[in-house]
């Protein structure tokens, strides 16, 4: 966000927690202000401190990034009430779609296929009836959820109650809202998502698709664009996503996630009302800066491109490099990065806040960098990514790089046979 703003000539104030005083964005910003202690609840989730800081620094617009308050309609609403432009959807869009259960209902209204599922429930007795009606296996999902949290698979009725309790608790801790709904759990599927962008007045563009099937515990590890599949199915999904977004006059960047089965049937899963971690792969194949567009649309300048000028070229792959130890069940291992060297060369992009000497705080995500490789074909992109990962030096912490290399060297990955169960099934 900082880079996009600077290129547009916009000054940046970074609000940081005490853990992030020496983070790269805080150091690069025109101004920075400490808004709370390391635990996110007191800082990055602290609406009062954030608004106070914005007003005190003369801020005009707020970019919430991803995670934390980025899909919090109350925060978006409060920004507007205090004459701060919220760079993202309107508060109503967030509450309509950000609530995963109500999003399903809207999808149905917009003629978008959805997985068989339920509305949110609170009583265990109701849960059993709903699960039997949908048919096992079912997936429990948090209404306020995202990032794979508050989700559980339940295969038999005797496992239902304890999984509901676990999911509710995880949702309460992660999102402050324990509401749960359920869907039929479809297996051996691809997770394909469509990047859309609306002007808030009824016009919506799509920037094609991404395949995010490579996941561990519902957290994406590797993403690519475009997805591998029939042109027809991909086009139909893009049109469905645009229909959904137009239905609610969506404003800003958003992503519609679909599950696609082996027969080319797709089902709407959820929509994320924010810019996503994996947006760089879309930017690489379209040559378009989505984050700059967020600033432009928020400033009232309207969409700067038309659908016919969005033409994907080549193939892009992104790996999420986490500070975690693959030999210890990928346990996060924060610590100090003592040496750091990023890959370079044609078709390589690195988005990271890390630098040599940087201490990774233990309070947040273990993601330390995104490395993206673009090339004219998927095979070349894989080769380029392998080259780039081998060139990367990160010392002082364990990282997931060795694991990523195993994934991209895997024969099923290379053939494009990737489903959401890839890691369990193909990586042994």
């Amino acid at each position: 966000m900082l880079r996009a703003a600077k290129e547009l000539g916009v000054q940046v104030v970074v609000a940081y927690s005490q853990a992030d005083e020496n983070s790269l964005p805080a150091l690069l910003a025109d101004e920075s202000i400490c808004i709370g202690p390391a635990p996110a609840k007191g800082s990055y989730m602290n609406i009062r401190n954030l608004l106070s800081a914005a007003i005190l620094t003369g801020t005009e617009a707020v970019h919430p990034g991803y995670g934390f308050l980025s899909e919090n309609s109350e925060f978006a609403q409060k920004c507007e009430e205090h004459n701060l432009i919220f760079i993202g959807p309107r508060p109503q869009n967030i509450s309509q779609i950000g609530d995963k259960a109500s999003a399903r209902a809207i999808a149905v209204e917009a003629g978008v296929p959805v997985t068989p599922g339920s509305s949110p429930f609170s009583r265990i007795e109701d849960a059993h009836d709903m699960a039997n009606a949908i048919g096992y296996p079912i997936m429990l999902k948090a209404s306020a959820g995202g990032g794979g949290r508050g989700m559980r698979i339940v295969r038999t009725p005797d496992q239902l109650q304890v999984n509901i309790q676990n999911a509710q608790e995880e949702a309460r801790i992660s999102f402050g809202n324990s509401e749960i709904y359920m869907e039929r759990f479809l297996e051996n599927l691809k997770h394909v998502e469509i990047q859309i962008f609306g002007d808030g007045k009824g016009e919506v563009l799509h920037f094609y698709d991404r395949d995010c099937s490579i996941q561990r515990r519902y957290q994406k590890i590797i993403e690519e664009a475009p997805s591998i599949g029939s042109q027809e199915v991909r086009e139909a999904m893009a049109q469905a996503a645009v229909r959904l977004a137009k239905h609610i006059k969506y404003r800003g960047a958003g992503t519609c996630e679909f599950l696609v089965d082996g027969n080319g049937r797709f089902y709407f899963s959820e929509m994320n009302t924010r810019i996503q971690v994996e947006h760089p792969v879309t930017e690489m194949i379209t040559g378009f800066d989505l984050v700059q567009e967020q600033f432009r649309v928020a400033a009232g300048l309207g969409l700067s491109i038309s659908q016919k000028n969005i033409n994907p070229v080549g193939h892009a792959i992104e790996v999420r490099i986490n500070a975690e130890d693959p030999s210890k069940s990928f346990r996060p291992c924060p610590g100090k990065i003592t040496d750091l060297h990023w890959p370079g060369g044609p078709g390589i992009r690195v988005d990271s806040h890390a630098y040599a000497g940087y201490s990774i705080p233990p309070n947040y995500d273990s993601l330390i960098a995104k490395v993206i490789a673009w090339a004219p074909t998927r095979g070349q992109a894989i080769a380029r990514m392998r080259r780039a990962l081998k060139e990367t030096v990160i010392e002082g912490v364990e990282t997931s790089i060795p694991f990523h290399l195993k994934v991209i060297d895997n024969e099923y990955f290379q053939r494009g046979e990737i489903n959401t169960d890839f890691i369990e099934r193909r990586m042994g």
Binding site: P37, A53, L56
Partner: protein, 164 residues
């Protein structure tokens, strides 16, 4: 007052129309404020952190900082880490005021002796005035910020030296 007395007090208040109550005797002090279904935003400070020091939060109608009609309640706002041992640091982001009102004398000056709970200053955030109190007795050795200066979380405000 023992725990069972406090529990009875809480029950009595929940079952009544009383929304705020405070009681002080010697160095025992309790203040209770009922949540009235305000949004998380308004009560945000109550869920932030555990706190060794209570901070009085004075809620008032928007705009002017005016002493009349203030109701006070005890909210737990965390004391930020990172400052030196006898530094008082800002527990929230806001504007620092050394006096209760523009024409009034400052709460404290350098050299003043303060007790635990003495109000040192106000930090105003989003039209809410928050009184910041001393955590322990001592003498005001230094005041690091000026009246009406914006302060960030954790910013040092005062140094209080222990009484010899």
């Amino acid at each position: 007052m023992e725990i069972k007395d406090i529990k009875r007090l809480l029950d009595a208040i929940s079952n009544s129309d009383v929304s705020e109550f405070s009681y002080e005797k010697g160095d025992f002090r309790v203040a209770i404020k009922r949540q009235t279904g305000q949004s998380n935003y308004e009560n945000g400070s109550q869920t932030i952190l555990s706190a060794p020091t209570p901070v009085h939060e004075i809620t008032q109608s928007p705009a002017v900082r005016d002493q009349d009609g203030l109701t006070s309640s005890v909210d737990e706002v965390g004391v930020p880490g990172g400052g030196l041992v006898n530094e008082v640091t800002a527990p929230i982001v806001g504007t620092f005021y050394l006096s209760p009102a523009p024409e009034a004398p400052p709460y404290v000056k350098v050299g003043d002796q303060v007790e635990e709970g003495t109000v040192l200053c106000i930090i105003e955030a989003m039209k809410l005035m928050n009184e910041i109190e001393a955590e322990s007795a001592g003498i005001i050795a230094e005041i690091f910020v000026q009246n009406e200066e914006p302060v960030e979380y954790g910013q040092p405000l005062f140094r209080i030296d222990p009484v010899h």
